[in-house]
Symmetry: C2
Subunit: 181 residues, 2 copies
């Protein structure tokens, strides 16, 4: 950030009195420009014991498989965002959402929130975000071809949870240089 989005003057990274971290600050109009993590929402959409995954048609990780998910938009609930993203990426209509996992990626300022859901209908045609979509049984999950560590975390927990017949919500963090909470 170099310029104030309110008045167009230059901003500086400044220590605001009473604040704990430095912020981009405009001395001209006195606006503090906060920057905070973003939420990514998606669905582990299940049908007949199989899970819907989408092959990415866009960077990053083009050609890799992922749980349909994307950035939560202003004005949305996390459930609404997860339903929308699943539809946008796969044409899949889901229902019966249940919170399944939260995964921290603090080094890229992201928090993933996944739901389990029932895949009600599904009429996939390739689109700008997804080149291919398919239902995978637990022993067919393409573990080495997953796009993101959040996918691996959510799928592993989902499968272990199914086995134990529980209905847990899992919280995890990307292990950057063995970073642990």
């Amino acid at each position: 950030m170099k310029f104030c989005s309110q008045c167009g003057n230059t901003v500086t990274l400044s220590q605001i009195p009473g604040d704990t971290v430095r912020r981009f600050y405009c001395a001209h109009c006195e606006t503090v420009h906060y920057q905070n993590p973003k939420i990514i929402v998606g669905c582990l959409a299940e049908k007949d014991g199989k899970i819907l995954l989408c092959k990415r048609a866009i960077e990053p990780r083009i050609g890799k498989w992922g749980i349909p998910a994307g950035y939560l938009e202003n004005g949305e609930t996390i459930e609404e965002g997860a339903v929308r993203e699943t539809f946008e990426e796969s044409n899949g209509v889901v229902a019966g959402l249940k919170l399944q996992s939260i995964y921290n990626l603090p080094h890229v300022n992201q928090v993933y929130i996944y739901f389990t859901a029932k895949l009600v209908s599904w009429d996939f045609t390739p689109n700008s975000e997804t080149s291919e979509a398919a239902l995978f049984s637990p022993d067919e999950i393409p573990w080495d071809e997953l796009a993101f560590t959040s996918n691996k975390f959510a799928l592993e927990k989902f499968l272990s949870d199914e086995k134990s017949e529980n209905d847990n919500v899992f919280v995890g963090t990307y292990d950057l240089n063995h970073r642990q909470f």
Copy 2:
């Protein structure tokens, strides 16, 4: 948003090809300025069957009681943010965090994430954010003096969950004009 934070030229609210909503866009440097919901994290800190609440020394809702919570910062996990906010507002040190609830406020682009936690130590002195802090037993909760609906939601669920001896995670949404998911 009026100016591009990258190059200082004016931005316009534009329909980007392939996107679903309009974005602030700089035609000069071609930057798309995404705006997304923010995460607020906090702790239902418990000690001897009582819950820690803080009386707000700042707007909004100055003088009202709230669960210690605040904006998640870049670089933090949700657990780290909840621990930090609890300490900043109350001087309380917490441990043993468990995800408790998520509360959507889509009309103000916020998602609250609360944890239950054990209050390990607590040495409160008034600070810039909090004028008073106290432990409340379930029948002492100042329901009519709570700062935010997310506080009410989390506390109600916490107390009902304790009664049922469950360890659930709750998801709720602020009911704006009977808005329901």
